[in-house]
Symmetry: D2
Subunit: 278 residues, 4 copies
């Protein structure tokens, strides 16, 4: 009798949006992870080319395709529960998630821009299929810490505003992280930013967007940066600012891999990385 | 024969908005200036009290009044050309300027929020009366330097946005300085901020106000700060930011006094401190 | 039978350093506090003048003196336990605290720059006299929040540095707040900032001062700002920054008054505002 | 008679430090430049591997070697004047430059940390060989603009300090750019930063390094960022800050390629990108 060597059980992973900036970093991260195996790469560029060659880490024997359904069907055949990481555009991601769940592939989703109704529908769908799904407006632990520090500070401040800056290829504004932050502050039960004077906006939009409990969000889009968010609190004579800056998409990889590992144990939809952090 | 002692000729100065934060600093600055003499103080608080006592520098024998006309009429009687410094609210300043010019009192105006049409009307009026008038969206030399540095940088960047933060008792948004900055950049003949993707604003106003050649301005209002403006340029792999921060209204005094001295030689309306800088 | 009117019991307060920038704000704050009564003002300028007139709030019937002993002796005669707030220079404050304790006057001290040995000596002295004393490197709640946010973040980051900027009349560097911050992080039991390369300092001092567990502090001194501290954490692809900015000394008043009220119940020396916060 | 097709004359380029972060970006940039041809790649990692494969752009038929002499000798055989771009470590770059010049290969050097004496020696050597050489402490146009804006502002400010932050694999401190900036400000003939009080450094190095006319430089080293420099001016009530942030090494490529094209026309050593900018 012979026994095969026990090898690490690998999670089969499909990456949708594999040829975008975020997707390429994810491909590299999965290739390095000993407990994951890339089984599919969906993208709109470099069709037919090997995704490993495309991202510069050598052949992975996975060609880029734009046919998500076929890849999901194949992944469903794997002996281990498969996961789909999706970092595409808000306009197609809703359907991608539904397709994945239909095939029993667990979605880990990083693109924001889904409406509250869409999230609620997906939650219902995942629940019915008893299939875990994680939607993270942001995969960075630093962002979670920034949000938690803001919640702690809010007790002492009546005034707060949010600025978020992203590269100019980001489609949605405000960012999902900024909206989430404003919602977290709004859930504290405080009223923020009472008006001192009668304000006048001479140019429409100058004062940004209002979110939650009267919290303003200001969104800038410029080349030369990846993602930055500043939460600024003010009171008499002082300001307190908490700022997270992602200079490189590698800062999201720890969070992405963590979600891939955690989603397998879930049977419903979870929104926010902080829900799966230790 | 007797000769009088030659004393420094003093410019008679009236301050409108004398009891506000900016006005109080101006009163102190004029009291210290050897070539200026305070002859009137218009304000809405501390009526009847001595303005020197109100601001904490000892009696100046000038009671606070809310009757501008009476003060202007008195100033017009002075043997030297008088100047009115006005730092009140945009809603009353148009009329104040017209009144001053009517009495031959030269206005030096620091409150912004005047529309282009109002400025054009005042220019015509000052011209007809051959009376100098200076409207400065900002009295700080640092702000002028920031704007000039931005003009020099704009040649090399296609993308730029402006953030301005002010204390929460500022009535108008965007600030006059930010609008002026956007206009100065727009006059360079470049097109700024070409769109890379189809942007979607999920919350109205998130992307700020558009000014001039597609330049976004974002206005924050918080206690704990006086005035800050950031001009951020972006291109591949880098950003260049020029930021001016006023922590104290004393930073405007050098510019205010300079304008008081310069307006006497003018016969028309001038817009912008940089026009009278060496 | 007659009953006296009950009036709020007022804490007799002496302010040492009353004519400095911080001291003047404190005088104004005490004058407004219904539960405090100013009984002495020690300073080096405006000797003999009424301190209320000096700071611009009208006569308080307390002349400025430079004789601390006399003022402490008088305060000791009050029917309520008196408090001395001291915001003078590190070089004289040690003796001031000992004198106050000797007279049974409770010190609330805001000037930093005391050495660890001096603090230990004062703790012993206060203990023997069963007299409360509070030494706060910083009176701002925002600073406490910044420090607590940093402690929470440190778990996730190996790399951190501190920048502090103060007005150019601050005598000591680094600031007490920065040193305290570095000590708080060092007490977490982590090793920070392991070296990646062999560093070379071509100009001595470029890499700042080392404090605690290998944490660098960088101190800037410039006019035009009051006090700012930035704690910057870095890891792969991202940075997290927590920044507190005091634009005005009024931000310290809430903390100062809180300490005056809390010190009466103490019988020993307490170091740090966070120890008396709710 | 037949005529060969005229093809763009290509500059033969050798890259020393090809496998480091900066070097990899340079390899990609040269591969895309129509007027350049990569003829050699010197590095310490991936020896023997094709440099194009190493950086992820496909085979370039140039193997990585650590033998600079051999590569320079080969480049000297080319029919066009060759250029060597060197972005290695300060400790070996002096010798590399001398070797290149000895072979008639024009150096374009980006690593700083050379002493003034070394730069003077190299200038003499290049001069004798009538061979152009460019040493650029910084290849970014944004940095040049920052320095020029600082020079314009310095006229109006007596107080200025510099903060520079780099990734924690940078060997030298302060950065060459910061030192250059301090020198440029010092050449204006002003005295900076007169002392207001007797300063005391309780921890050695807190106040940074002194450079030129009493200008302090503060150097931070953290993962999560590439390169940032802040020049902060201060005067009564205000600060003016000019900040350049490189999030990605692609921001240096325009400057690198410009230097490669410009060095061919030189016969001596030039220090600073601004010397070859239009």
């Amino acid at each position: 009798m012979s026994y095969s060597n026990t090898t690490t059980v690998q999670i089969p992973v499909v990456v949708s949006g594999a040829t975008g900036k975020m997707g390429r970093e994810i491909i590299k991260a999965i290739a390095k992870a000993p407990d994951m195996n890339l089984v599919g790469a969906i993208g709109r560029q470099h069709l037919g080319e090997d995704i490993g060659e495309v991202v510069g880490i050598g052949e992975l024997e996975i060609p880029v395709t734009n046919n998500l359904e076929v890849v999901l069907a194949q992944a469903a055949q794997e002996s281990q529960l498969p996961v789909m990481i999706d970092v595409t555009h808000p306009s197609i991601i809703y359907d991608n998630i539904r397709s994945a769940i239909a095939y029993g592939v667990r979605p880990v989703v990083g693109t924001t821009g889904l409406t509250e109704k869409q999230i609620a529908d997906l939650a219902l769908f995942a629940d019915k299929a008893s299939t875990g799904c994680i939607i993270a407006p942001n995969f960075s632990v630093g962002v979670i810490l920034m949000q938690q520090a803001a919640i702690a500070a809010a007790r002492y401040y009546q005034h707060v505003e949010i600025i978020e800056l992203h590269h100019n290829q980001k489609a949605d504004a405000p960012s999902g992280t900024a909206i989430k932050t404003a919602q977290m502050l709004s859930e504290l039960g405080q009223a923020f930013n009472p008006a001192s004077v009668q304000e006048q906006e001479h140019l429409a939009g100058a004062r940004g967007a209002v979110c939650g409990e009267n919290i303003r969000i200001h969104s800038l889009r410029l080349p030369g940066l990846v993602a930055r968010q500043e939460i600024i609190f003010g009171s008499m004579g002082e300001t307190l600012k908490i700022e997270h800056n992602a200079s490189d998409r590698t800062c999201y990889m720890a969070g992405v891999l963590l979600c891939v590992r955690k989603v397998l144990a879930l049977k419903s939809l979870v929104y926010g990385l902080e829900k799966v952090l230790a």
